[in-house]
């Protein structure tokens, strides 16, 4: 029988790796996911996050490492023996079965009594608000409804772990926001663990208890959303978390922290990972770089677009550095401005 038991403490990935021929798609990933936790695997396409998810599901064999559910090693098991549930990117509903049979598929596999299957399917369909569509085929449903079927099919088996592979990427913007709230609501209700793969940092920030940022098949940083947002540990992560201004420069100690030279001007910054002297990379979010009369950086506006609440602009300094900034009042191309950022929001990394 499957391992479908919710009474587990943690899923542990121990240095797992996966190679496709000479290509190492996943390397040395070590991670523990606790019961009830919502973990997002975040990274650009090709970073290995989907490979990691497929390895956890059992759809891909590992080439290194092992996977443990408490003290049971599960990586030699096939996907059908792990008892997990998965929501696929394109939903992967069974096209020849109606909604009810799609949702009940996992329970039939577990050979549950008919009455129990019927009851639990009804409950799951009610939970995703799909009761009236129970007898439709997937092809007759809208994208959002198919998504709900896929979620119902996953949660009805009461799995210890739900795996989600970019489940919202095929939906339009409005529906995506609705389903995002829905997924979190259902997760809170059921209390299982969820591993959620996405390339959308907003999605990861709003849904996850912890975010795992991946790049080139390896884990770059693990932490709660607030920490990743405010303190990315690596310039790569900063880049991915929306720090659009990344400038190579020099750093030196200054009273109350460090100072860096950006576009010919000196800025006070906050060192990350002991970067206090020598070559450095400075990371600043556009939202934190704003014009004011006494700001240190002198630049000329190259372009600006209105974004509703504010203006998003690009300015070019005398040395050619391009800086992304935000302004509350209209700025026009060609206009000379002075830009600055608070020291706490100027992150300084040692250049490698």
């Amino acid at each position: 029988m499957a391992l479908a038991s919710r009474d587990f403490r943690a899923l542990r990935l121990d240095a797992i790796g996966r190679a496709f021929g000479a290509v190492q798609a996943l390397r040395e990933v070590t991670l523990t996911v606790e019961r009830g936790e919502f973990v997002a695997l975040l990274g650009p396409s090709g970073c290995g996050k989907s490979t990691a998810l497929n390895c956890i599901a059992g759809l891909l064999a590992l080439t290194e490492g092992s996977i443990w559910l408490d003290d049971r090693r599960i990586d030699p098991l096939g996907p059908e023996d792990r008892g997990f549930a998965m929501v696929f990117q394109n939903y992967a509903l069974f096209p020849h079965m109606n909604v009810r049979r799609n949702v009940g598929f996992g329970l039939v596999s577990q050979r549950r009594p008919k009455a129990e299957i019927a009851r639990r399917v009804e409950e799951a369909l009610a939970l995703v608000r799909l009761g009236p569509q129970a007898d439709n085929l997937p092809g007759q449903l809208s994208g959002g409804q198919q998504q709900r079927v896929a979620i119902a099919r996953a949660i009805v088996v009461e799995p210890p772990l739900v795996l989600m592979d970019e489940p919202l990427s095929n939906l339009d913007a409005k529906l995506r926001l609705e389903m995002r709230a829905e997924i979190r609501r259902i997760h809170n209700l059921l209390g299982c663990a969820t591993i959620y793969v996405t390339h959308d940092q907003d999605e990861a920030l709003s849904l996850a208890d912890r975010i795992v940022v991946m790049r080139d098949g390896a884990v770059r940083q693990v932490g709660p959303p607030e920490e990743l947002y405010a303190r990315p540990a690596h310039p790569d992560v900063a880049d991915f978390m929306g720090y659009r201004n990344l400038v190579r420069t020099l750093v030196h100690p200054a009273p109350g922290g460090v100072a860096v030279t950006v576009a010919g001007a000196e800025l006070l910054g906050t060192p990350v990972a002991a970067a206090t002297n020598g070559a450095a990379i400075v990371a600043i979010r556009p939202e934190d770089l704003t014009p004011s009369a006494d700001a240190p950086i002198v630049a000329v506006v190259a372009s600006a677009e209105y974004r509703g609440r504010d203006f998003a602009g690009v300015a070019r300094a005398a040395d050619g550095t391009e800086l992304y900034f935000r302004a509350e009042t209209r700025v026009r191309p060609g206009e000379a401005i002075r830009l600055g950022a608070p020291a706490a929001r100027v992150l300084v990394y040692a250049a490698t």
Binding site: E37, F38, R73
Partner: protein
């Protein structure tokens, strides 16, 4: 939600994890239970196609009497045998050229039709019925009392029945009737694979029909045509039933397949029969390789001049 500190991420059983089991390593290379599903088919084709071929090759070098090359020496010293190659080529080459030359213009027209299905369905009939039935049909239709001769006599186009059977032309016609639809359907599938917007683009740029054919369609069709020619040729080259039934199996249409059949089933000389079958395969292979090499030459040409 759960914001407790994660468990320590050092793992005790790492030593165990290092030694991946053989099954896991095989799975990582794509070898698992699913891959094994291909095994019966592979073994079947090896046993009943590759092995007989190799066995036939071996057998052809092991004649009942004489040295290893005795069969081949005999084949190439007796006109009765070696002439079959020329006889077969004399049938297969013109038939292939006629079929492909007719199929290309028809396919290019049919491509523009909206209701192709009826025509393709009708043309599938002679392919499905096969050469034996076509031969029997020709015997009735082209015979001295058949409709064709009736027409010629009644309209005074001829004063006696013309002879279309039991000679070269009977086999030729039977190979056109079953071969043209086959060639046509192949060419049509290649032609419909060409994006019609390419031809529209050429037309907008001022290319007339002949230029569109020569500079756009033909270069794109060449790879498919080479394969069509090759397949049509090997089919015509291995002609057997119509060469016997509507040809002159002892004379003008004594094709190589007849020689192989007689060696095997009339003289029970399997060694000689194998040798002839191997020669048959060799001639086919030679022509196919030549066609594919020619395609390589032709295909590079237009790609270079296309820029001019």
């Amino acid at each position: 939600m759960n914001s407790a500190a994660p468990l320590p991420e050092t793992a005790a059983p790492r030593a165990v994890a290092r030694a991946a089991p053989l099954r896991t390593r095989l799975r990582a290379r794509g070898l698992d239970g699913v891959t094994l599903l291909a095994l019966p088919a592979v073994l079947f084709v090896l046993a009943l196609f590759v092995y007989p071929f190799l066995y036939g090759l071996y057998l052809s070098f092991a004649p009942a009497k004489g040295g290893a090359l005795a069969n081949y020496a005999r084949f190439f010293s007796q006109p009765f045998l070696y002439d079959t190659i020329a006889t077969t080529l004399l049938l297969a080459v013109p038939v292939t050229i006629v079929n492909v030359a007719a199929a290309v213009p028809v396919a290019l027209r049919v491509r523009l039709m909206r209701h192709q299905r009826l025509l393709t369905t009708v043309l599938v009939i002679p392919i499905t019925l096969g050469t034996v039935l076509v031969a029997e049909g020709l015997l009735t239709y082209l015979g001295p009392r058949g409709w064709v001769n009736r027409l010629l006599l009644d309209f005074g186009l001829s004063d006696r029945p013309i002879r279309l059977l039991h000679n070269y032309w009977g086999v030729f016609l039977s190979l056109v009737i079953s071969g043209f639809p086959f060639t046509f359907l192949l060419v049509l599938s290649y032609v419909t694979g060409i994006d019609p917007s390419l031809e529209n683009a050429a037309a907008i740029l001022g290319a007339r029909a002949r230029a569109r054919f020569a500079r756009i369609l033909l270069p794109l069709l060449v790879p498919g045509l080479a394969i069509t020619l090759a397949l049509s040729f090997v089919q015509a080259f291995s002609v057997f039933p119509s060469a016997v039934l509507v040809g002159a199996p002892a004379g003008a249409t004594r094709v190589i397949a007849i020689a192989a059949y007689q060696a095997a089933f009339e003289q029970y000389d399997y060694s000689m029969a194998s040798a002839i079958a191997m020669l048959m395969a060799a001639v086919q292979l030679l022509i196919v390789v030549a066609l594919l090499m020619l395609r390589g030459l032709v295909y590079r040409g237009p790609a270079a001049t296309g820029k001019g």
